[in-house]
């Protein structure tokens, strides 16, 4: 795993190249392809939210779709004027879709991490159970549409255009999603590379030891969980505006599982790898699921097991792992400590 100093730039170059490729992708796609790809990028945002909380924060969340679903529902309820006092504003919808899941994540984090706190595996199981419960609740809550969910969610609009023109074209939707993804990537990368991110990495490595150093680890974890919830909510809102409907499945157990697979296959410890994992798995899925049918999910399950056993860093993890921030780089790069700091969790 020794990385020589002359090719330390490969991950940086690869990351930039991927963003560039996504930027110019619409040039090579037809209208349907563009809207399809916009959805994958939306899933990519969702995947980054999980990579942040799991790969960087060490909290294996089996219920990440809870936040995605809440974001989607809040966006749908607002723009469908179920919350009549907002007049169906999409801006308010987006704000609610970001802040609502953040609040839920914060509260859940306080319950689960406060006090002596739940250790890794317990946290995974509790979030798994929570996803199932939230899905069941959504199925039986008439205000939010019960089993059928909510249909006819309006697509994204542009404020300064009127009437039917206000609806974004698929290219415009694509770039809206693209810049949201880029912003999320930039924000999360900054957090991960900040001193806060170093503490988070320390907690992931050994929570008790970090606590003995005087850090209130629960607060760090709750904050990370909140940020992750907000981003998953944003992804959910963007999703529902593109698809035009929400259903209980969006906050449940199956989607939580899928995002986990995307992130694990791509590379849990690297935001860009998780992002790419989501896009890759979704693309392959749409390409193969027609011909493979039920066998697709079985193949995906087996692929997942194989990745976990044989390549815990995921398929792209090694190639997209950005170099350490200057602050943490010793004058002469010491491979061993660099490896420990980037925390190949």
């Amino acid at each position: 795993m020794m990385r020589k100093s002359n090719n330390i730039q490969i991950p940086t170059a690869a990351t930039a190249a991927i963003w560039l490729a996504i930027l110019v992708a619409p040039l090579f796609l037809d209208d349907w392809g563009v809207s399809q790809f916009a959805q994958y990028v939306t899933y990519g945002i969702f995947a980054m939210s999980l990579s942040f909380v799991w790969g960087h924060g060490g909290m294996l969340c089996f219920g990440q779709a809870i936040f995605f679903g809440i974001g989607a529902y809040l966006m749908a309820l607002t723009t469908l004027e179920k919350f009549s006092w907002f007049g169906g504003s999409q801006t308010v919808g987006l704000l609610l879709a970001i802040s609502g899941p953040a609040v839920v994540a914060h509260l859940l984090g306080r319950v689960l991490f406060g006090g002596r706190g739940l250790q890794g595996a317990y946290f995974a199981i509790v979030t798994l159970c929570a996803a199932v419960i939230v899905e069941i609740t959504a199925q039986h809550w008439r205000f939010i549409g019960g089993f059928n969910g909510l249909l006819g969610v309006p697509p994204l609009t542009i404020a300064w255009r009127d009437g039917v023109d206000a609806y974004m074209t698929s290219i415009e939707v694509y770039y809206a999603v693209f810049f949201a993804a880029l912003a999320v990537f930039a924000a999360l990368t900054m957090i991960v590379r900040s001193p806060f991110g170093s503490v988070l990495a320390a907690i992931r490595g050994d929570e008790n030891r970090t606590r003995y150093f005087g850090y209130d680890t629960a607060r760090f974890k709750i904050f990370a969980f909140t940020v992750s919830g907000a981003i998953a909510g944003l992804a959910g809102a963007l999703f529902t505006a593109q698809f035009g409907f929400v259903s209980p499945a969006l906050c449940g157990f199956a989607l939580s599982t899928e995002v986990l697979i995307w992130v694990a296959v791509g590379g849990r410890g690297v935001l860009m790898a998780a992002f790419l994992g989501a896009i890759l798995v979704r693309s392959v899925e749409s390409y193969l699921s027609d011909s493979l049918g039920n066998y697709w999910l079985m193949a995906l399950g087996i692929l997942f097991v194989a990745t976990v056993v044989l390549a815990p860093q995921g398929v792209f993890g090694r190639w997209l792992n950005l170099p350490l921030p200057k602050r943490l780089r010793p004058a002469k790069v010491d491979d061993k400590s660099a490896q420990e700091m980037t925390g190949m969790a």
Binding site: L118, A121, C129, T257, M298, G301, L303, F304, V305
Partner: protein, 284 residues
């Protein structure tokens, strides 16, 4: 009064079956430090074994014998192919068994289709018990499950082999240096846990709607039982299953199934928050 008796009987029968699933999980976790997310699918395969045997015309009772055998084999194969490679990476065992569960569930869908199957109740006549008319098959489930649970307990606490297993759970390295083949024990335990879950699935098939989602339906309460009861001993499994099973049955018969799940989950969260190591757990 009759209502109370019926609820009590329902509670006992659900709790005992839950216990069969939970015990396997606890032993696998205690011995190998593996959280087996595929355990629900072991239950599922047990139930579908009964369905398959019914389709070929075999009598129901053969299923109770065949299901544990099949599941023991499934457990052995999975342990060899996957689990043993991730023993030392705790979180990865969750992910790997999770992938297994997806693949297993999907195989069941491919073989039997996504819709629910029904299994003919082998003992359709009800019996009168303490003033209520109660399905005799449920009474049989209770008896068998109780017998199995007691046997498992006796095995772990009254036999030399059981002592060896508990020794490995307590201190794997030392047990190995005393000559105990921990590798063989891992394999046997995983197979045993799988067989128990498979048996539970088979025995529950006639009174549940057998569909591909039933494994998850049983896995969630089993996990909550473990979290509530603690992972340090089988006693935790009993206590946890008792609490979760009782809450689930009582709330769902007084109210709705959905309410029951929400109440049970909230109760579990409160208990886990109060006793992070489980009710029987000591601080490690």
């Amino acid at each position: 009064m009759e209502f109370a008796v019926a609820i009590t009987l329902d509670t006992v029968s659900f709790t005992l079956t839950l216990l069969l699933v939970t015990m396997g999980l606890v032993v696998i976790f205690g011995l190998m430090n593996v959280i087996n997310m595929a355990h629900g699918e072991f239950f599922l395969i047990g139930a579908y074994t009964v369905v398959a045997l019914q389709q070929v015309g075999a009598p129901f009772w053969t299923g109770l014998l065949v299901a544990p055998v099949i599941l023991a084999c499934v457990g052995l194969v999975l342990e060899e192919l996957v689990i043993r490679h991730v023993y030392h990476r705790f979180i990865d065992t969750i992910l790997a068994t999770w992938g297994i569960s997806i693949a297993l569930k999907q195989s069941i869908i491919i073989l039997f289709g996504p819709t629910s199957q029904s299994v003919v109740n082998p003992l359709p006549q009800p019996v009168d018990l303490l003033g209520v008319t109660y399905p005799s098959y449920r009474l049989l489930i209770m008896t068998i499950s109780l017998g199995l649970a007691i046997s498992t307990f006796l095995f772990f606490y009254r036999t030399h082999a059981g002592l060896a297993v508990r020794g490995v759970i307590a201190n794997r390295m030392m047990a190995a240096s005393l000559g105990i083949n921990t590798r063989r024990m891992d394999r046997a335990t995983f197979a045993f846990g799988a067989a128990l879950a498979g048996f539970a699935g088979a025995v529950m098939a006639p009174i549940m709607s057998v569909d591909p989602q039933m494994g998850v339906g049983f896995l969630i309460p089993a996990f909550l039982s473990i979290l509530v009861g603690g992972t340090s001993s089988l006693l935790g499994a009993v206590l946890g299953s008792g609490i979760i099973g009782t809450a689930n049955t009582v709330v769902s018969s007084l109210w709705t199934q959905v309410a029951a799940q929400i109440v049970v989950f909230s109760l579990a969260i409160v208990l886990i928050r109060t006793f992070p190591e489980g009710l029987t757990g000591r601080k490690r």
